[in-house]
């Protein structure tokens, strides 16, 4: 038996009874969503709750500096900034031994631009040769706007997808798709919350972009399954809805797995080699793709079963010959 091309070896048609397990998985998903929501909002602190708020949404300043080729002394950096009245200053190493990242909130009322200039001057004075490789400053007004528009964007995206599916399929499909979307978005927030607590991923603009992409991707996956479902509903008019759903998912399973695996391959490369800026973005998308694949199968489709679909035999029957009139 040949093992290549692999497609010939893969089972031609699987017969998993997905629908039968949907109750179990729905319960698991509910629990996961509840945990995610809790982690996302707790502690109830504005603006980001339990997420590690990036400066995009919290406001403040992030400086990256390098004392290459000398190793950087984070203690010295901390000491130098003590007298400036900046409040909570975080200093942590990034990249190599000679680079560090400083993050602080601009004191209320102070000019953000002048504060940065003062900090840079002070550090240059106490560290000697130092290069500022990045300086991001976001004022309170802008960060508030970015957060509002980010959340608005997420809400609008979900609404738009509902409308699109409603328009292209029917309302029941739209509701199933949106249930899957909420599932994906909530769990992704849970991931960001956990990774935030581990100090790995911040909730910032790229994170929102990643979630929007996941919405697009998860929808893409759902649409493909729905498409086949619609076709099979027309083809097999008397087959129970649950069986049609199972059959449609099984038929698309090879495609779903191949596609998701490709996406995972590409994004894994990005997460590992893409550097710190792309790490959060790619990890969130990786997670979202896995979750999105799962939710198309176990959330979107069963929700349709819950709501039922209009299946009128008469309507879909071929038109009677005109002579009969």
């Amino acid at each position: 038996m040949k093992f290549w091309p692999l497609i010939k070896v893969l089972p031609v048609r699987t017969h998993f009874r997905f629908v039968r397990l949907s109750r179990l998985f729905a319960t698991l998903s509910m629990v996961a969503i509840a945990i995610s929501l809790f982690l996302t909002v707790y502690p109830f602190k504005l603006p980001c709750g339990g997420l590690a708020c990036g400066i995009d949404f919290a406001g403040g300043t992030v400086l990256e500096l390098s004392t290459a080729p000398k190793a950087i002394d984070t203690g010295q950096v901390r000491g130098a900034l003590k007298g400036l009245g900046l409040g909570d200053v975080q200093v942590q190493p990034v990249g190599g031994p000679s680079s560090a990242m400083i993050r602080f909130q601009t004191p209320a009322g102070a000019d953000i631009s002048k504060t940065v200039a003062a900090v840079q001057a002070k550090l240059t004075q106490s560290l000697g040769t130092v290069k500022f490789t990045r300086a991001d400053v976001v004022g309170a007004k802008v960060s508030g706007e970015l957060l509002t528009s980010g959340l608005l964007g997420l809400g609008l995206a979900i609404l738009l997808m509902l409308l699109y599916i409603w328009f292209r399929f029917e309302l029941q499909f739209g509701l199933g798709a949106v249930a899957a979307l909420f599932h994906d978005v909530f769990l992704t927030f849970g991931l960001i919350a956990i990774m935030g607590r581990l100090g790995k991923i911040e909730f910032d603009l790229p994170a929102v972009a990643a979630i929007l992409t996941i919405i697009g991707y998860s929808m893409n996956d759902t649409v493909v399954v729905f498409d086949r479902m619609r076709e099979n509903l027309r083809k097999y008019k008397r087959m129970p809805l649950g069986d049609v759903i199972d059959m449609s998912i099984n038929e698309m399973l090879t495609r779903t797995i191949i596609t998701s695996f490709t996406a995972v391959l590409a994004l894994a490369a990005l997460a590992v080699f893409g550097g710190p800026t792309l790490y959060g973005l790619s990890v969130i998308m990786l997670f979202g793709i896995v979750i999105g694949t799962y939710s198309s199968i176990y959330i979107a489709a069963p929700v349709i079963l819950l709501w039922g679909v209009k299946r009128s035999d008469e309507e879909a029957e071929p038109l009677k010959p005109a002579t009969q009139r």
């Binding site: 200039a117 400053v137 994004l267």
Partner: protein
């Protein structure tokens, strides 16, 4: 097989050739690129600031300060008007965004209101009045801007600010930044390659209001030390390196608007950098008068409420020109000359957001993006070959390559900005592109399995998968649209890249794959599909 229309082949060939042509400049070293004949495209990818290094500064016009400034001026008008009409008043002050005052004599109330109506707040936009005058108990009068009129004022001030900034930057002679207006009261400035925006900021953000004010010689150093300010005077900090601050007369004898020119030069005796200036006729006359009357006294040259120099007047200066001997370096003298020539900002501004990426960090990001892109691509290629074999795997890889040429070509042609998240968008496009192929192949296999002939299966594979592909990719376009609407800078770049990628993907998956498969079919007349 597969009625392959000629236009499809032509379209695919055209797309490939054009994609290659427009991608080519990115692959050539700059020297070769410059040597290309004129008809060849030369644009390379336009890298975002996060990839090439640079600064993005978002300023907002300080609306509160602008309002206070306008109100303060108006309050002075009110004071003069009432004095002229001999209307007694008290408590004239600007507070909480309005002018408040109290007319002392109740019988003068209507005269006061009449006078106000005639003198202040001329017709604003739409012919309506610019200000609201309201009365309260105890002959109190409050004057505030009509919101629409003030908004129009802000809008005009932003336009004027942009004009001034543009003039300043033009004269600085650095690499030209992009200046654009954002929303109602914001100005965005993107300077590529500028990794130390401090000088840029000092040139852009400075209001640069210049005035000449007399130093109050009657005030003693003790007054200054104890912060006692004689009436009509103010204490201003100094940067001249002689004294930390001065007590000067509030009255501005001559102001920056009266300048016609300013240049940075060197003092002929000390060889220090100085700024020489020239007044217009009104300024020259006033300056001449004041210097004639005050020989031996000092006048202060004040820039944005800071004394930059306080020289002693040695003789009357009637020629209308002079020099500022500040505590200058060549650069700061040059910057001041630029500021004076370009004029003061009509409205004060403050930095709302600043993003600066050093060129090295940008280069690192490009490297990281390229490496992960190549690894992702190789992994995808290997995976497709493993799954679908040389032929079908190969066909989708050729599709991917054409797709890549088209994306880079379109992005170079349209000069769309490629940002770091945009690279992620490109890599994700790989997955989307492969998906389209997988949908087609799986559909063919399904149809074969359903008992159709090879030819009809292949045709049905395309026809039926097509609808799914369009439906499914529409969702990416929708989410990209939203990102474009709501995102800023890098996120917009991501959305743009994703959208272009999805469009070219649909094209290459559907047409390129179809043409290649048809060629294969004609050449070999196969009896079975190698993937079924």
């Amino acid at each position: 097989m597969m009625n392959l229309a000629k236009w499809k082949v032509i379209l695919v060939l055209l797309a490939t050739i054009l994609g290659f042509l427009f991608t080519l400049p990115n692959l050539l070293p700059a020297k070769v690129r410059d040597g290309l004949p004129a008809f060849m495209p030369k644009n390379t990818l336009h890298l975002g600031l996060d990839l090439q290094g640079g600064s993005d500064l978002l300023y907002s016009v300080d609306v509160v300060a602008l309002r206070n400034e306008r109100l303060t001026n108006m309050a002075e008008d009110v004071r003069t008007t009432f004095r002229d009409k001999q209307i007694a008043f008290t408590d004239l002050a600007v507070a909480n965004g309005e002018i408040g005052l109290r007319v002392s004599d109740p019988t003068q109330m209507s005269a006061a209101l009449n006078a106000l109506r005639q003198s202040i707040g001329g017709p604003g936009v739409n012919g309506t009045r610019e200000v609201n005058v309201s009365t309260g108990d105890n002959q109190r009068i409050r004057i505030a801007f009509v919101p629409e009129a003030f908004d129009a004022d802000v809008s005009k001030a932003v336009d004027q600010n942009i004009e001034v900034i543009r003039r300043r930057i033009d004269q600085m002679g650095t690499k030209e930044p992009d200046i654009s207006r954002r929303g109602k009261d914001r100005i965005d400035i993107q300077a590529a390659g500028e990794s130390d925006p401090e000088r840029l900021k000092s040139v852009i953000g400075q209001t640069a209001k210049l005035s000449f004010q007399m130093v109050d010689e009657t005030a003693s150093p003790e007054d200054l030390a104890e912060g006692r300010v004689p009436p009509g005077d103010e204490i201003l900090p100094s940067t001249d390196g002689v004294a930390p601050s001065y007590i000067v007369k509030k009255r501005q004898v001559v102001t920056g608007e009266m300048l016609t020119n300013a240049q940075s030069t060197f003092d002929s005796q000390t060889n220090q950098p100085v700024v020489s200036f020239r007044f217009n006729s009104i300024g020259a006359r006033k300056f001449g008068d004041i210097t004639r009357q005050n020989i031996g006294k000092r006048f202060a040259i004040v820039l944005d409420k800071k004394v930059i120099s306080a020289p002693v007047i040695e003789s009357a200066i009637s020629g209308g020109s002079g020099q500022i001997h500040g505590h200058f370096t060549v650069e700061s003298a040059n910057d001041l000359a630029v500021l004076l020539r370009a004029g003061a900002l009509p409205a004060p501004m403050k930095v709302e957001e600043q993003r600066t990426v050093g060129a090295e960090l940008g280069a690192d990001a490009v490297k990281a993006g390229a490496i992960s892109g190549i690894i992702g691509l190789v992994a995808t290629v290997v995976f497709m070959i493993v799954i679908y074999g040389w032929l079908f795997g190969g066909i989708s890889i050729i599709g991917l390559i054409v797709n890549g040429l088209m994306i880079v070509g379109v992005m170079s042609l349209t000069q769309a900005t490629l940002t770091l998240p945009g690279i992620a968008g490109l890599i994700l496009t790989l997955a989307v592109a492969v998906d389209a192929n997988v949908l087609i192949y799986e559909r063919m296999r399904d149809e074969l399995r359903a008992g159709r002939s090879l030819i009809t299966s292949m045709q049905a594979g395309f026809a039926l998968a097509m609808a799914t592909i369009l439906d499914a990719n529409m969702t990416h376009i929708l989410s990209a649209m939203i990102m474009f609407q709501f995102g800023s800078g890098p996120v917009k770049g991501f959305a743009w890249t994703l959208a272009i990628g999805v469009l070219t993907t649909v094209f290459s998956a559907v047409l390129v794959t179809q043409v290649l498969l048809a060629w294969w079919f004609r050449a070999t007349r196969p009896k079975t599909l190698p993937i079924a």
